[in-house]
C-alpha cells in the first residue's frame, strides 16, 4: 500500500471547522452506550482548549434514527431540525456541532436539500412558524464533534501525558479506525478525507503516535446498519456483519478500534461478547477482545484523565490491557464505584471473553 496515494486524496477533502463558539447538541443514545464520552468532550473543550461551547436544554432528538429507519418522514425531520436551528439562533450561536454522526448526516442532508431547493426551506420555515412561532438562521458552520477534536488534535497532543506507543516495545500501537456511515458516505465533501479513505480519525491516531491498519473489510458495516438491528428478525445480519469485520482485521493484530459514531462502538464492543458466547470466538490477545474506543475517550486518555472518570468501565471488552500497554495507571477497586463512591454493581463474568486481571 502506498500511503502517499491516500495523502493525495486527503488533500482533496478538507473542510472548514469553526475555531470557537460552538452550539453543541448531544446524541439521543450515546449517554446510555458510553456515558463518559460527551462529558469528556465538554471537559476537553472547556478545560483544555478554553472554548466557548453552549448547550440548550430545549434541544430534542433530531429524529435521525427514526428517519433512517423509515418511520419519520423527511418533512417531519426537516421541521424538527429547523427547531434545533431556531434554538441555536435564540442562544446567539451560529456554529452547530453535533455529537451524533446520524444527526450530522441528517443536518448535512437537510442543508444540502435547502441549498438546492429553496422552496422546500421556505415551506419548512412556514411549518415551524405555524407550529411553534419560531424562526431561525441556518448555521454558518456545521461540524461533527470528531471534526472539532481533529482540528485541535495537535493541541491535545501538546497537552497530552501519553502517546499511542507500546511502552514495552517502544513501537506505535496498531489501530483500526471505523467511521460512521453518515459521516461522509452521503456527502464525501463534508467529511475530512472524504468517503473512501476518511482522515478524521486517522489524523488523530497519527498525531497521537499510533499507526493505522488498512484491512480488507475496513469499509464494511459495524453491524448496526439500523434496520438490520432495529428489526429484531434481522439481527443475524447485524452480528454477522460485525463478525466479518473482526475476522478481516484479526490478522493485523489491532491494539484497539477507534470510532466516531454512536452505534459503531456499541456494536463492535457488545457483539464481541455476543460472538464469544455464541461461537466461543474471542478476538485480540489472550481472550480479552479488542478494546473499542470513542474519539473523546481516546483524547481523554491521551490527556491523562482517570479512565474511570471518562467511562471506560462500561465497556464490554476490558480496556485495561490497552491502558497497561500505554502505561496509563488505573485504580482497579474504583472501577465499579459511582462518582460519589457507591458500588454501582459489577457485570457477571462472560463464559469466554475474559475479564482483565491487572498483573
Amino acid at each position: 500500500m502506498k500511503i502517499e496515494g491516500k495523502r493525495n486524496i486527503w488533500k482533496d477533502y478538507q473542510k472548514e471547522i469553526a475555531a470557537d463558539r460552538y452550539f453543541y447538541v448531544r446524541s439521543c443514545v450515546r449517554q446510555n452506550f458510553f456515558p463518559g464520552s460527551e462529558k469528556t468532550f465538554l471537559r476537553i473543550m472547556k478545560e483544555e482548549l478554553h472554548k466557548d461551547l453552549f448547550e440548550n436544554a430545549a434541544h430534542t432528538t433530531c429524529s435521525g434514527i427514526g428517519y433512517h429507519s423509515d418511520v419519520v418522514p423527511f418533512e417531519t425531520a426537516m421541521t424538527m431540525v429547523a427547531r434545533q436551528f431556531s434554538i441555536m439562533t435564540e442562544s446567539g450561536y451560529e456554529n452547530f456541532t453535533t455529537s451524533c454522526i446520524t444527526s450530522f448526516g441528517l443536518y448535512s442532508e437537510i442543508l444540502e436539500t435547502w441549498h438546492h431547493f429553496p422552496e422546500v426551506e421556505e415551506r419548512v420555515r412556514q411549518h415551524l412558524l405555524k407550529a411553534t412561532g419560531r424562526t431561525f438562521n441556518k448555521p454558518v458552520n456545521l461540524s461533527h464533534a470528531s471534526d472539532v477534536i481533529f482540528k485541535f488534535r495537535k493541541e491535545i497532543a501538546a497537552n497530552g501525558q501519553y502517546k499511542l506507543i507500546n511502552k514495552n516495545t517502544g513501537k506505535p500501537l496498531q489501530v483500526v479506525e471505523h467511521i460512521g456511515c453518515h459521516y461522509s458516505r452521503m456527502f464525501p465533501g463534508k467529511g475530512i478525507g472524504g468517503a473512501e479513505y476518511p482522515y478524521v480519525l486517522v489524523g488523530m491516531i497519527e498525531e497521537w503516535g499510533g499507526e493505522v491498519i488498512d484491512y480488507p473489510e475496513r469499509r464494511h458495516c459495524c453491524g448496526f446498519g439500523f434496520r438490520q438491528y432495529l428489526i429484531q428478525a434481522n439481527r443475524g445480519y447485524s452480528i454477522s456483519s460485525t463478525k466479518k469485520k473482526f475476522d478481516s482485521m484479526a490478522p493485523y493484530k489491532p491494539d484497539f478500534i477507534l470510532t466516531n459514531c454512536p452505534g459503531c462502538p456499541m456494536f463492535l464492543d457488545r457483539w464481541q461478547y455476543a460472538l464469544s458466547e455464541m461461537e466461543g470466538i474471542t478476538y485480540g490477545e489472550n481472550g480479552h477482545g479488542i478494546p473499542v474506543l470513542t474519539y473523546e475517550e481516546l483524547a481523554g486518555m491521551i490527556l491523562g484523565y482517570d479512565p474511570w472518570d471518562i467511562g471506560l468501565q462500561v465497556h464490554q471488552v476490558p480496556v485495561e490491557p490497552l491502558l497497561d500497554k500505554i502505561g496509563i495507571p488505573y485504580d482497579t477497586p474504583r472501577k465499579f464505584l459511582t462518582m460519589d463512591g457507591k458500588i454501582m454493581g459489577q457485570p457477571k463474568a462472560p463464559s469466554n471473553l475474559k475479564f482483565y486481571q491487572h498483573e
Binding site: M1, G5, R219
Partner: protein, 343 residues
C-alpha cells in the same frame, strides 16, 4: 497569405488530416506538443480486433504524410489571433505562423483512475490501468505483481471513468469494451495459468469482428465475464486484492480475490483541447468535448469559419473512425478554401 493549413495535434487524427491535406495540394504545418508525433496510439502494442501491431498503423499514417507536411514537435501554442484573412498562431520560442485554416486534432486524455477512489489506484500496489498493461506488452516485459510474482488470477474492470454519473462522465468511451476483451486474451496468451475475470455493465461489441473476438475470449481463452460493476477493491495482507461486486445476472453479491486488477480507463476531454478551443472561440458540449457546426451533416467544421475538427476532440472514437474522420476533415478544408477563392 497563401493556402496554408495548420494542424494542431500530431496523433492519428492530426497526422492523417495533415497527410490528406498535403495530398490535396495544400501547404501543411503540423504542430505537436510532445517530442514526437503518434499520440496515444504510439504507446499501444496491438490493436483490436485483429491484434495487429499498432506500429503497422502508425507507420502507415506516418508515411501518408509524405514529404509535403512540415512537422514541428515540442511546440507550445501561446495564443491564436483571428483576422479576416485567417489565423496567426503564436508559439513559445518561435516566430508566429499564419494560415488560412486551422484543424484542431488535439485528441483526448485518459481518465485519471485516481478519481475512482474506491478502486484503490495509486494506493494498492497491484491495481494498474489498461494503458499501463499495454505498455508492459509493448515493451515485452514480464507481467508480474508488484513484488515480482506471476499473477494467478486477474480482474479487468470495464467503464472506469465512463458511463459513470459519479465522476460526471455519462458518455461511453467506445473502445474500452473491446480493448478489455483483447487484453484479457493477451493476458491468457502470455500467462496460460492465469485466470481472467472481466467485470462489465454491457459489452458494446458494435463493430466488425468485435463480437467474434468476445466469443473467442470465452470459447478459446476461457475468460470469465461477470455483468456487474465493481463496488470496491481492498488489499489483503499478502497484497492480493479483494473485489466486491454484484453479479447482476444472478442478482447476488460476490467477492473475488485476485492478484492484480486492470482498470479500463476511458476518454476524457483534454486540457490542451480546452485551451486551444478557448483561443479560437469554440464551444464544448456538456460532456466537455468540442462541438462541431452540425452533429450530423457538418461534423468536421465548426461555428468559427476556417476552424475544423478531426478525431477524438469531438468525443471518443476508435482508430478506424478517427482516420475516416480526419480524411473527411481534409476534404472540408479543401472545399472551404476553394469556396474562398471562388468568392
Amino acid at each position: 497569405m497563401n493556402n496554408k493549413v495548420i494542424v494542431i495535434g500530431g496523433g492519428v487524427a492530426g497526422m492523417t488530416a495533415a497527410g490528406a491535406l498535403a495530398d490535396l495540394g495544400l501547404e501543411v504545418l503540423l504542430l505537436e506538443k510532445d517530442s514526437q508525433t503518434g499520440g496515444h496510439v504510439k504507446n499501444w502494442d496491438r490493436l483490436f480486433p485483429s491484434r495487429r501491431p499498432g506500429k503497422e498503423v502508425m507507420d502507415f499514417v506516418g508515411k501518408s504524410m509524405g514529404t509535403g507536411v512540415e512537422q514541428r514537435c515540442n511546440v507550445v501554442v501561446n495564443s491564436i489571433d483571428r483576422s479576416n484573412d485567417g489565423f496567426t498562431v503564436h508559439m513559445e520560442n518561435s516566430e508566429p505562423v499564419s494560415a488560412k485554416c486551422l484543424v484542431i486534432a488535439t485528441g483526448y486524455e485518459l481518465f485519471d483512475a485516481h478519481k475512482k477512489e474506491e478502486y484503490g489506484y495509486g494506493i494498492y500496489d497491484n491495481v494498474i490501468t489498461s494503458a499501463e498493461l499495454e505498455n508492459i506488452f509493448r515493451e515485452g516485459k514480464k507481467l508480474t505483481t508488484h513484488d515480482g510474482k506471476t499473477p494467478r488470477r486477474m480482474a479487468i474492470v470495464h467503464c472506469v471513468g465512463s458511463r459513470d454519473e459519479k465522476v460526471g462522465n455519462l458518455y461511453c468511451s467506445k473502445v474500452c469494451c473491446v480493448t478489455g476483451v483483447k487484453q484479457a486474451i493477451e493476458i491468457r496468451e502470455m500467462l496460460p495459468g492465469c485466470e481472467v475475470t472481466s467485470f462489465y455493465m454491457d459489452l458494446r461489441m458494435y463493430d466488425r469482428n468485435f463480437e467474434e473476438l468476445y466469443y473467442e475470449a470465452q470459447q478459446k481463452w476461457g475468460v470469465n465475464f461477470i455483468r456487474g460493476r465493481l463496488s470496491e477493491c481492498a488489499e489483503n495482507p499478502d497484497h492480493s486484492l479483494i473485489l466486491k461486486a454484484e453479479d447482476t445476472l444472478t442478482g447476488r453479491p460476490l467477492k473475488l480475490t485476485v492478484d492484480m486488477v486492470v482498470l479500463l480507463v476511458g476518454f476524457v476531454p483534454g486540457a490542451e483541447t480546452r485551451r486551444i478551443a478557448q483561443m479560437v472561440g469554440l464551444q464544448a458540449g456538456a460532456d466537455g468535448f468540442l462541438l462541431s457546426a452540425d452533429e450530423h451533416v457538418q461534423d468536421n467544421s465548426t461555428s468559427v469559419p476556417g476552424v475544423f475538427l478531426a478525431g477524438a476532440v469531438k468525443g471518443p472514437a476508435c482508430i478506424v473512425n478517427t482516420i475516416a474522420d480526419a480524411r473527411a476533415t481534409a476534404l472540408q478544408v479543401k472545399k472551404h478554401l476553394t469556396n474562398l477563392k471562388t468568392k
